[in-house]
């Protein structure tokens, strides 16, 4: 098995009395796609927030390439190579498509105000390099971000393209680990398949991917491994087919659906 890139060790996060994530442990290996599944409210997004430093775990630890990242600031964790997308899009919608990707690179560029004032050669080189890289990243979505679109505000994009732009922005951080929160939510089947193919391409390009997903076709078609959660607890882990047929998982989905209709 490839090297372990991320280790979550008994991470727990409480909100008041609610254990949103409860004693959760799992490993991610370099170059695999892992899907995190579970009914609504089972703690998937909270897990992402723990990994990306938006929340600090109440107990337990999270290690990125062997080093603890629990308690680090989101920006520091980003710099260590973990980027994410959001379930509800959080693009900088008044900024242009290109600028959104450039913001993703922000931490990697060094130029300060003084550099900008005097347009030092260092700054100009850096600026040009970032723009070239940003255009490269946008070109990873063939046909979706033609040059003319680069200067348009992100808000003007179609919904599916905004989701793609979020992935592009996450890639701008040159991450080793990519966390995708429901990357195909709200897309039609054809678009979902396209994104699924893209996610597999990203894996083949060397990224490790952890994604939250509900779409069974995408889960089965893209993931190497699946982790299922319910009530903040990991209830199953393994190959996609095995997890999908796991009695505990079936029970979690059916049980919750029953409760939902009752309420």
């Amino acid at each position: 098995m490839a090297e372990v890139i991320l280790e979550v060790r008994s991470a727990t996060k409480n909100f008041g009395g609610l254990k949103a994530v409860n004693n959760l442990s799992f490993d991610l290996h370099k170059g695999e796609i892992v899907s995190l599944i579970g009914p609504n409210g089972s703690g998937k997004t909270t897990t992402f927030n723990l990994i990306t430093g938006l929340y600090e775990p109440d107990s337990g630890d999270i290690l990125m390439q062997g080093e603890s990242i629990a308690g680090l600031k989101p920006g520091q964790i980003y710099a260590r190579g973990i980027s994410r997308t959001f379930q509800m899009l959080r693009l900088f919608s008044n900024m242009s498509v290109l600028e959104n990707v450039l913001v993703g690179m922000h931490g990697r560029t060094k130029a300060n105000v003084i550099d900008c004032m005097f347009r030092t050669p260092r700054m100009r080189r850096e600026e040009e390099a970032s723009i070239v890289r940003a255009r490269e990243i946008l070109a990873m979505f063939p046909g979706r971000f033609p040059l003319a679109r680069h200067t348009q505000p992100a808000a003007s994009l179609s919904y599916a393209n905004r989701r793609r732009l979020e992935i592009a922005r996450a890639l701008a951080g040159e991450p080793r680990l990519l966390l995708l929160d429901e990357p195909v939510a709200g897309m039609n089947p054809a678009e979902s398949m396209e994104v699924m193919r893209q996610i597999r391409d990203l894996r083949d390009a060397g990224y490790t991917i952890l994604m939250i997903e509900h779409d069974m076709n995408v889960i089965m078609g893209a993931s190497d491994r699946v982790i299922a959660m319910d009530h903040g607890i990991k209830i199953a882990e393994g190959a996609p087919v095995d997890v999908a047929n796991d009695p505990a998982v079936v029970e979690a989905y059916l049980g919750r659906r029953g409760a939902d209709t009752a309420s």
Partner: protein, 406 residues
């Protein structure tokens, strides 16, 4: 009422408007990144002017100082004021706002008001309660004649300096790395933080820039009116804040637009007789009618989906605007209308009411054409303008900086 007089008032309006804009930018930028109204900003403005003026007093300028030396002193005063005031702005954020971040807004608001009072008292303690008088020797006193109106050179200086500063600010915000960080931070601080942007640094920078602009504003006001008082910043701050809200709080071009409108309205309002204002209203009515009869229907028609587009349908939409009162009311009352026509009818009625109000006001103004507002009315006018615009556009002329959060 001569054209020269109107031109003179316009220049005065632009001058005051530019100063409002310099202050309003600070309010709006801070609101952008923190969703906080920095009530201490008015005092930052006063202190900027005080520091510049007292630097000049301390150096000692008089009429015999040669021009080159005056320019040097002037530069020194500006620099000292910029550095100290920017530091003050930075300090305010660190001491009064940052420790309270994450608390409810009302707490930050209290802290802002407290800081404002504290700073006013500090001015009295340090500089004394009497107004500070700007050394007149440093102020450009000349006049030029433009279109027959006598314009103070200082007014031109104020307008040009402000324009340059706004250009610089636009470039910083649009074209530089820190500007990108500012825009990202003001749209979604958490997401910006997660992209590796140092939001605290960005917020500090925002305060520094806003305070620097206010400092220059303070200096310009001190030169324009010859003196400053410990509480000058209160009224200016309030006006600038009004301007920021008028243009759309959090929106940088909006602050400038709002400030200019306010400055012009105040000066036209008290300087012109009602008869002349009536002509302004007629111009406004022309614009309103153009909107109602041409722009709005054309825009609405362009929204019709292609599969529904028929000449008859287009005519129906256009007629709602043309014959607004009759047709629009009938459309709104009838049971079955399609959504687009219904929305158009509501819109048309609103435009119609606006135009009728303007028309009515114009008649009233024409009827009492010789009357003039006393200058005591200045502040009343600016708030009437504010209320009138916010009634039709609650989010300000150019719209608020809308926060999109999860």
């Amino acid at each position: 009422m001569s054209p020269e007089h109107i031109f003179g008032l316009t220049v005065s309006g632009l001058t005051v408007g530019m100063i409002y804009a310099l202050i309003a930018l600070g309010y709006t930028m801070v609101y952008g990144v923190l969703q906080l109204i920095n009530f201490a900003h008015g005092e930052v403005f006063t202190i900027g002017g005080y520091i510049a003026a007292s630097t000049l007093i301390w150096i000692g300028v008089d009429a015999t100082t040669p021009l080159a030396v005056k320019v040097l002193y002037f530069t020194v005063a500006v620099l000292v004021s910029l550095v100290l005031t920017a530091t003050l702005g930075w300090l305010i954020e660190r001491v009064a706002y940052r420790p309270l971040r994450g608390q409810t807004r009302i707490i930050a608001l209290l802290s802002a008001i407290g800081t404002s009072i504290f700073l006013q008292n500090m001015i009295v303690i340090i500089f004394g309660p009497q107004p500070i008088i700007m050394p007149t020797a440093i102020v450009p006193t000349g006049f030029v004649e433009i279109f027959g109106a006598r314009i103070r050179i200082l007014q031109i200086v104020i307008i040009v300096v402000s324009l340059l500063l706004m250009g610089l600010l636009t470039w910083i915000v649009k074209g530089t790395r820190i500007g990108k960080a500012m825009r990202a931070t003001s749209q979604d601080r958490e997401a910006a933080e997660m992209m590796g942007i140092e939001t605290n640094l960005t917020i500090s920078f925002t305060f520094v820039m806003g305070s620097a602009l206010a400092a220059i504003g303070g200096f310009l006001v001190a030169m324009y009116y010859g003196s400053l008082q410990f509480n000058t910043g209160f009224l200016y701050g309030l006006k600038a804040f009004t301007a920021a809200v008028l243009g759309g709080i959090g929106n940088i071009p909006g602050a400038v637009v709002g400030a200019l409108i306010l400055g012009l309205a105040e000066n036209w309002g008290v300087g012109l007789s009602l008869g002349v204002l009536a002509w302004l209203l007629v111009a406004g009515l022309g614009l309103g009618l153009y909107f109602q009869l041409v722009r709005a229907p054309r825009q609405r028609i362009s929204h019709i989906a292609d599969e529904f587009r028929t000449p008859a349908y287009e005519r129906q939409v256009r007629n709602v605007y043309r014959f607004a009162p009759v047709l629009a009311v009938r459309t709104l009352l009838s049971e079955r209308t399609d959504a687009l026509v219904h929305v158009s009818a509501q819109h048309a009625l609103r435009l119609m009411v606006g135009n009728i109000i303007i028309f009515g006001l114009a008649i009233v103004f024409f009827a009492s054409g010789d009357m003039q507002f006393a200058s005591k009315w200045q502040h009343v006018i600016s708030f009437v303008v504010l209320m009138a615009i916010l009634m039709f556009r609650p989010s300000g002329i150019l719209g608020e900086n809308i926060q999109e959060k999860v």
